[in-house]
Amino acid sequence: MEKKSKIGLICSAGGHFAEMLQLWEAFEGYSVFLVTYREKTTVNRKNTYYLGNIVRSPFAFVVGLIKILWIFVKERPDILFSTGSEIAIPSFYFGKFLFGAKLIYLECSAQVYQSSLTGRWVYPITDLFLVQWEPLLNQYGSKAKYVGGLI
């Protein structure tokens, strides 16, 4: 029997969230859960876990990390996909090293020439690393791929 992958989708609010919605089709047929920030723009969604913004305070950061761990223990993701931003950093490191998840990262289309802090953090451990502008490729190693952008 074919194993059904569990996919964790990770993104902060705003443009990162909008990019996630644009790519929803990629996960059709799979069991998915979403981890995002609790904002007025993201409320009341199905299969969604909410965190306070982890960069708001050191306390929020620690609470957020514990919550991500708790979510992953419960959900056991096989694959994580993120459109950024920093919420991807602890999620990817936990996912890779504690749960053996495969990682897919899409650098936000706001990054035209400069890599993002999140991108630089997760690049070394990401299995499929995508950027949305060709000039950005030379900011990363040979693993980075450009196949097109959303905007």
């Binding site: 074919e2 909008a18 897919i104 400069q114 791929k145």
Partner: protein
């Protein structure tokens, strides 16, 4: 309807909202502003701070014109639904963003050249561009987003490979 949005960023972008408010009396269309975290509250338009993203999508779809910062979410939606958009990038020098990446996005979009995307770099140009867009009142048929299709295919192939392993 004209929908105005300054995104989810916590930094103030009253510069755009104040300008929209000041020219609103001269615009025949209804204007709705999502003010976000910006402090300025328009006196001449309907406004709210935030609506859930699905409602924001409906506002965009129902609009004849969207006015926005160079935020990715709004730009994507306007592209998807073929809605004309006027973009005023947030600037670092005014404390509107952490850096000038919105300038880079705006310039890149301008370089790509789409009939529906209108970039302005100073708010003084806003009224003229609004009137030009409204005069033409044409909505593009949305074209297939090839970048999006490629991204979906690439991600899906990777996931399917993972399942087989």
């Amino acid at each position: 309807m004209i929908f105005v949005t300054v995104g989810n960023d916590f930094r103030d972008f009253s510069r755009l909202i104040r300008k929209v408010d000041s020219i609103a009396p001269d615009i025949p269309d209804e204007i709705v502003v999502q003010t976000g975290y910006s402090k300025y509250r328009p006196k001449n338009t309907r406004h709210f701070d935030f609506v859930p993203i699905d409602s924001a999508i409906e506002y965009v779809r129902a609009s004849e014109l969207v006015i926005s910062h160079a935020g990715i979410g709004t730009i994507i939606l306007c592209k998807e639904y073929g809605i004309p958009i006027i973009i005023l990038p947030r600037r670092k020098k005014y404390g509107e963003h952490i850096n000038d990446h919105q300038m880079e996005v705006a310039m890149m979009l301008e370089e790509k050249g789409s009939a529906n995307v209108h970039v302005i770099y100073e708010e003084s140009g806003l009224e003229r561009v609004i009137k030009e867009v409204l005069k033409n009142r044409k909505r593009d048929t949305p074209i297939e987003n090839i970048g999006r299709a490629n991204l979906i295919r690439t991600i899906r192939e990777f996931i399917e490979r993972g399942v087989k392993e």
